[in-house]
């Protein structure tokens, strides 16, 4: 996955970039299956390899196809990235090992969910029961966020399909006419 990510930095043709990003998310989805997260893998595969790629391709069709070459001073961002990476790696030295069953994350609330979910909710899929029953307020907020983001997209470029694009500069947002 790191190889794909590094290739993404170098490739300049934007179509290739979008395809690589799709492959990247698909590889991430298979990684999730290896880590026993089947629900998440399902969602990531459907969303990342499907919807994301389609949306980016549409944006490409509406803008340009190539990234322009630009010799820019790349040293300062590179140093910043290396320093931040070193600080983060120093921070991870304290963390529990991969797959450790005694890690603190498995101590507080998770045993209660795993043990009581069968009795209280009666649904075999624990992820669904936590998502929809134990933490349903968060899911309500999330659905509202999806709704709001879509309304935002509609407000930004969802204007009239029937009248073709006007050339005046005041045609930016400001009231949705002609549904």
């Amino acid at each position: 996955m790191a190889v794909i990510a590094l290739a993404l930095v170098r490739v300049r043709d934007l179509f290739g970039v979008v395809m690589l990003s799709g492959i990247f998310t698909l590889t991430a989805a298979s990684l999730y299956v290896v880590m026993d997260a089947v629900d998440v893998a399902f969602t990531e595969a459907a969303v990342g390899a499907g919807i994301s790629t389609v949306l980016m391709l549409e944006t490409l069709a509406l803008t340009t196809g190539q990234e322009k070459v630009k010799r820019r001073n790349g040293l300062v961002p590179f140093i910043m990235v290396v320093v931040t990476g070193a600080v983060l790696i120093y921070g991870t030295l304290d963390m529990p090992s991969y797959g450790d069953p005694g890690a603190p994350i498995h101590r507080h609330v998770a045993p209660r969910y795993i043990e009581e979910s069968g009795r209280e909710v009666g649904v075999p899929n624990i992820v669904t029961s936590v998502l929809a029953s134990y933490r349903s307020h968060d899911t309500l907020g999330e659905v509202t966020v999806i709704f709001t983001a879509t309304v935002g997209v509609l407000a930004l470029i969802g204007r009239s399909r029937r009248n073709r694009r006007k050339k005046e500069p005041q045609a930016t947002g400001g009231g949705k006419d002609a549904r």
Binding site: V38, D39, A41, F42, T43, A46, V47, G50, I51, V54, L55, E58, T59, A61, L62, E120, V121, G122, V123, P124, N125, V127, T128, S129, L131, A132, S133, S136, H137, T139, L140, V143, T144, I146, F147, A149, T150, V153, L154, I157, G158, R161, R164, R165, R179
Partner: protein, 138 residues
């Protein structure tokens, strides 16, 4: 033209299967991986595939833009409605146990309803965003 034809035939065979699979994932979210979000995304992408094959105008006749926008709001309303129904029946907001006589049956009913609401909203969001992007001209 030949390449186009192969795509059309393959898509015509696949799209009903994808829609059926989306429904399966939606209602089997309790017993296996799945649930509202996955089902909504799969449904949306089946529709996008259809729109890519037959063109945007024919797809607009199948699902008009108004329907997808109304469905967007309807899903959220369904979710909040289940929560408020819990309020009316005596429990707290979004407490499903009071929706039926047996507590676990109430939970099951509540979970199925809100997952359906989530699925509708997510599918409508995908379709609406696709319409908006596809009808824009350069």
């Amino acid at each position: 033209m030949r390449g186009n034809m192969i795509l059309r035939i393959a898509a015509k065979m696949l799209i009903p299967c994808i829609l059926l699979f989306a429904l399966y994932v939606q209602f089997h979210g309790d017993y296996g991986p799945g649930g509202g979000f996955q089902a909504g995304v799969i449904f949306g992408s089946a529709f996008i595939l259809y729109a890519l094959i037959v063109g945007i105008e024919a797809a607009r006749r199948a699902v008009p833009a108004v329907v997808s926008r109304v469905a967007l709001a309807l899903g959220v309303l369904l979710y909040a409605g289940v929560g408020v129904a819990g309020l009316f029946l005596g429990g707290r907001f979004l407490n499903y146990s009071v929706l039926a006589d047996v507590s676990t049956a109430g939970q099951h009913l509540g979970i199925t309803l809100i997952e359906f609401g989530v699925g509708i909203t997510v599918a409508a969001a995908m379709i609406t965003v696709f319409y908006v992007f596809a009808s824009e001209e350069r």
